[in-house]
Symmetry: C2
DNA sequence: TTGTATGCGTTATCAT
DNA sequence: ATGATAACGCATACAA
């Protein structure tokens, strides 16, 4: 059985195709990359020769020659964090349109690791960088960011610099959540805030404080507890809230993962949600919608945000745009079963 | 303020360093890549010059020259699927040790997309391919796989070929789960199987059938319903099970996502788990451990499996090993709250 | 419209 | 121990 010689061979070069087609090497390049300076008949001849040989362009060689790798680097804390993949998909969707691939690096939220990964990405000469919830202000990071490779910040804003940025309207989201709770009669609302390095967490705290003041709710510093965007942080914060003599009747969690921690703590303490405690998450990761979780939460359009970030980045790469642009996405409150009326007095312990 | 000239410049080449250090270009290469044929004093001189200039090697140029990109391609159905990121982290952990980066491609489970992505990866001359639950037998795929780039199958085995492969001992896992259920008195156990293309799903079905026969349980074809590894498939299958006149008292779900679908359907039907229905998942994704979910499940060591796959792949790349190797990981039953005794007769409708 | 020549930034081979 | 030089596979400026 004679196999058709169409098997892909990565060792076949443009030289071989040129020889096979009986034309010059540059003609092959022009023909295959769709330039208009080649006769249609030659193009076909070349195409056939290429197919016959199983020729495939080497993106590596092209990258060296063009000084463009068609690769974007993505820095994130951890792909295994449920909200990361959605952003990633968005970035990928957009990148793919421009034939760009993604190099993904995990930093585990450590500055040191992030810097190491940035070097990896820069050494690979990525065309651009997407920084998803990462450090962007430390001098060592800035130095790398200033090396000339375009970048965009996603879900994280610089405190000092004007950069391309895609984020969410945290004020809107937090306000809507608090108004929703107030509608149920809650006046004492606890906040589990995100890590201190997170500017996003800062913005949410601001929004919380503004709403508390405007709506004349309990303004007690003890009502703000530090979390870490993880289940365990939410759990610990919730235990603290639950053990307070004047316990909040509702909790606003930094994100859905933290909210899960609250649910775990509530189960353990025998408190029902929303019977004894109302709970609002943030992110709207898929599990928030599961019947058993049924979490009221503030939704983020992660995939769209990822796509927007990639679009911003690609635009900057293409047009060498100088001016920074910012894109803010709306946040939407998704009301599910974890929020309800304030428990009647007699039930409070 | 004079800035120290240590800012990274990707445009500085090895030539510049050679000039700065006053040595030959090849000496710079040798010095910087840690070869032993350069005097220590020159190495230092070179290193200093490189630092002064902010020189960083171009992995692109190196790749072209060495015919090795230090990049692995990973094909998966969807990063946003909760079990994918864990495998991915494992692959990354191991790849990083060999200075390899990861190019990640989503196929959405579509053959056509997978082939397109394989071309992307091959055109980029990745050193190896990790196929995570993907098609590996279709002729078009085989043709690409035969192009000479090493690859490893993860969580998917070829029906026709001997390849490097990392998987789990499905027989062990399924058997343990069924024995656990039998211990609770269950005799009528429904199975939601995975998609037909999945060899993993096949193996699990086999294990189920063997156990059913060995333990003399209800052997009814209606007890096997097709799912799709997703919540919706599990939901539909569960609705079908629930509406049967002779409903199973326990369900073995293809994976945890399917089990979530079962939970959703049970909630809707007013059935309690495990009161009315016992449920076992498979994967042990993080959410299975949340208090509200509390799912008995068969755990997969995903991160370790990913690392093992990468190790196999890297070994093959390095040693140009010919013989195929297979690594099987144990599956471990994690007993949580979703399984319990068979409901008493009077409660069955 | 086609062909020739050059260089992208490395590593490797071979002299010295 | 160091240096000169030749690829690696491609795109492009320029010549024909």
């Amino acid at each position: 059985m004679v196999k058709k010689a169409t098997a892909i061979k990565t060792k076949v070069s443009i030289h071989d195709v040129a020889r096979e087609a009986g034309v010059a090497l540059s003609t092959v390049s022009n023909a295959l990359s769709g330039k208009d300076n080649v006769k249609e008949s030659t193009r076909q001849k070349v195409q056939e020769a290429a197919d016959r040989l199983g020729y495939r362009v080497s993106v590596v060689a092209r990258a060296l020659r063009m000084q463009r790798t068609f690769t974007l680097g993505v820095l994130l804390a951890d792909v295994a964090n449920p909200s990361s993949p959605d952003f990633l998909r968005g970035v990928e969707d957009m990148a793919e349109r421009e034939s760009c691939s993604l190099l993904v690096c995990n930093t585990d939220g450590l500055l040191e690791k992030q810097i190491a990964q940035m070097h990896v990405l820069l050494d690979r000469r990525v065309d651009g960088l997407v920084l998803l919830s990462q450090y962007c202000d430390p001098p060592l990071v800035r130095e790398l960011l200033n090396s000339g490779t375009p970048f965009v910040l996603l879900q994280r804003r610089s405190r000092q610099y004007q950069d391309d940025y895609v984020g969410a309207d945290n004020h809107e989201g937090i306000t809507a959540a608090i108004e929703h709770l107030v509608g149920f009669g809650h006046k004492r609302i606890g906040l589990i805030r995100g890590p201190t390095e997170s500017t996003t967490a800062d913005e949410r705290l601001d929004a919380y404080r503004i709403a508390i003041e405007r709506l004349k709710l309990d303004d007690d510093p003890a009502l703000v507890i530090q979390g870490n965007y993880q289940v365990d942080g939410g759990y610990r914060a919730a235990r603290e809230f639950i053990s307070m003599s004047q316990r909040p009747t509702a909790i606003l969690a930094a994100n859905d993962m933290s909210a899960i921690g609250v649910m775990n703590a509530a189960s353990e303490a025998g408190l029902s949600i929303p019977g004894d405690l109302s709970l609002v998450g943030l992110d709207d990761i898929e599990l928030a919608s599961y019947a058993r979780i049924d979490l009221t939460t503030i939704a983020l359009q992660r995939r769209d945000m990822g796509a927007a970030a990639a679009a911003l980045l690609l635009d900057r790469i293409r047009k060498k745009r100088k001016k920074a642009r910012q894109v803010l996405f709306p946040m939407k409150l998704i009301v599910r079963g974890s929020t309800g009326p304030v428990p009647s007095k007699k039930k409070s312990r």
